[in-house]
Amino acid sequence: MAETRDEQISDQEKVRIASDFIRHAPPGEFNEVFTDVRVLLNNDTLLKEGVAGAFALYNKDQLTPVKLPNASIPSLVTEHNDIGGGRFFDPRSRQSFKYDHLRKEASDLQPWEPDMLVETWREALETQFTEYTANHYKHGVCAVFAQSRSDCMSLVACIEDHQFQPKNYWNGRWRSQWCATLSGGSGELQGTLRVQVHYYEDGNVQLVCSKNVKHSLTSSNEVETAKEMVRLIEESESEYQLAINDNYQTMSDTTFKALRRQLPITRSKVDWEKIISYKIGKEINKTQ
């Protein structure tokens, strides 16, 4: 914090603050937060030069869905398919594209070569995972990425689903990110599940949840491994959703009730005249 309230902070600090604000925009409200930050920063050059990186980080962190002009199934913008220079790849349609982080649009499509060492594994998982997503996420978008390394193979599967209803003053998003590292018949499956809900009619209420999950894997062939992974994922995600619902129950039945009663123990509202006269009575007793 600045030494005195009148001291101006450095440009670097301003960029840090502006970037932080952008990166914490609730799902569906990036444009509003961007406009707020732009007016408050009041320096478009600094915004363009220093804060533009935050736009990309935000979109990748949010697993932002992207519609490609020539593909029927949308893809996701994530850290796993970022190939630099503002370009990302879609393994499903075997293309790379330029992504505009402010307009949220894909353009300049180019063919993209998959890594043939792992492509059969990736495709097998993509098939199972797409069916899983369709089964549990009404408007969900998923993407599967694979990478071969010297001693192992890594597979990443992401799901994003959202509901944006700004006219009703609420927005929500679910994000799943599952990473499997496989090497010689065994491996580890690690997941990060995140939920965020924002309700803002005459207020600001947010639910921010996250959970990390770990499972060990045995891998045989592409299809069996994919099925095993999806089985574990389905189990973990449903368990997570049930646990969240369970917490809601406890929060409302126990925690909330213990903070403030609906009515005093007398089962009727406060008698304010009595409260005032009681205090005056005490005063009279004191002076006697």
Partner: protein, 275 residues
Amino acid sequence: MTEEQLNRALDLMRRLPPQQIEKNLSDLIDLVPELCEDLLSSVDQPLKIARDKKEGKDYLLCDYNRDGDSYRSPWSNTYDPALEDGTLPTDKLRHLEVEANAAFDQYRQMYFEGGVSSVYLWDLDHGFAGVILIKRAGDGARNIKGCWDSIHVVEVQEKSTGRSAHYKLTSTVMLWLQTSRPGSGTMNLGGSLTRQMEQDGTVSEPTSHIVNMGRLVEDMENKIRHTLNEIYFGKTKDIVNGLRSITTLADQKQKQALRDDLANALQKRQGKSDP
């Protein structure tokens, strides 16, 4: 330009996660120092507790009992750290303030069965204004941390007859719930709702104001409590369950088809039995 900036700043505070209100407000003030006073007086923050060592009681801190970097205790009516000429209410108002604190202390005990409350009053041209603060932290049972903060700002406009007054109440209630458990990871449900209410009241003696304000605050808090329950544990939960379905959507379609078949069968049966 500054008014637009203030509106943008307030809009931003309504969108950024309320779980980081203090950091967000501090960053915002750093970014736009000209808005400092306006922001401090219009952005509600979770209430902080301080100890009045003289009286051995806790009190709550807000912008209305702040003067510079010092805060005034409603119990001893002194500033901490001490101030040579800190803003104090007039004697007449201080007397009412003492009564109000005692009354709302009882109100707090009856509804919250614990916690801390504080009332601060200040003069206006044709009346006075006040803030009633309540803070109630949960005991952490069932591994869930909870906290309730009430900030009620009331404006009292005395009518020229002196026999009645108009009360305008703006209330913000903050509710914070967080848990960290193996099954559900970290779950943080928090924020605030704001409502406004106004009504007239008869005034036969100065303490009538406390009766009138008390009733208004009580009704307001009961209403907000109900809405908090609906929004926090109803609405946000429904939104989560709308994002992901535990039962497969294929199963759901099947169930719906069965429901439709049954409904049709029932309708046909009723048609046959009607005379």
